[in-house]
Symmetry: C2
Subunit: 199 residues, 2 copies
Amino acid sequence: MPEVAAPIARLINELAKLPGIGLKTAQRLAFHMLKAPAPEAEALAMAIREVRDKLTTCKECCNITDTDLCRFCSDPGRDRTTVCVVENPTNVLSIERTREYHGLYHVLHGSISPLAGRGPESLTLEVLTARVRAGGVREVIVATNPNVEGETTATYLAQILRPLGVRVTRPAMGLPMGADLEYTDEVTIAKALDGRHEV
Amino acid sequence: MPEVAAPIARLINELAKLPGIGLKTAQRLAFHMLKAPAPEAEALAMAIREVRDKLTTCKECCNITDTDLCRFCSDPGRDRTTVCVVENPTNVLSIERTREYHGLYHVLHGSISPLAGRGPESLTLEVLTARVRAGGVREVIVATNPNVEGETTATYLAQILRPLGVRVTRPAMGLPMGADLEYTDEVTIAKALDGRHEV
């Protein structure tokens, strides 16, 4: 991009690497940052550095945190007998939004995908098994995504966790809220019929 | 539309009344029919007439059929102890695609919606209760859609059917196949956690 000064070209280039940000958006953002008041631009730059420098993973559950233990693991009000295993930190937010889960979490930071060459060793499994072995956990809910990688991961987890004497469960598959049978795939409908319950 | 001959304007007008067909699409379809070989146009016209003239509803289950009993009710291979209640004939197709349901159906031709002024009397409930009273039915699966109208309808159905001595069930709500927790609403996640099962 020789038609702009090198620093702005560099910023555009870096912004365009972000997911969902194309070249045009990157240009608009870059020129906005150029014209924005200095403190605003400085605050953004600092926030970006801090997110890398200050955040770490929780020693207990591998969730991202800026303290030694994350806010769930250090909360005495949470039910410590139940651990919900999720693929990513964003999934923790999804489950918290339900306001109906009061146990702890474990973040795998990925899923098993033989096709993509990601085996169990790429996940934070040792921390999880150590925690289950330490005792106190009665149920592990494997809330990995209901797709091929997530199901594979759940099966693998059940195999290594069940011998440790905990209940291993999986959230129900079925019709999502507001769905229409007409536009729902047959696997989901079959699972929903399979898991039917009394009204 | 004075710039085209009256018959074509009439055809465009009628086509544009169809769901999802705007004026432009209607024009394209109309001019295609004008240029198409005569037998093709004639076959379409006849098919439209026939669909109205020859189709009726099944005496047993209210599904659309061109015979006295529909193909499910007249099939001796289907399990006659289970009846799956759906809102519309297209829902029957959705459930058949799973290839895992082998019982019979009942088509309500709608759902209860107090807001839209549709009460229970707008549905084919008398045919259903008469069938359950006649005996032989052990379970009624209420597979109305998982939205407000469908849930209302399911609750109403359970109230009138349970006193007749049948099991009234509802398909599971949960995560649909291939879902991502990150993009799933909290009600669905809560229902999925609620209905969790051992791996």
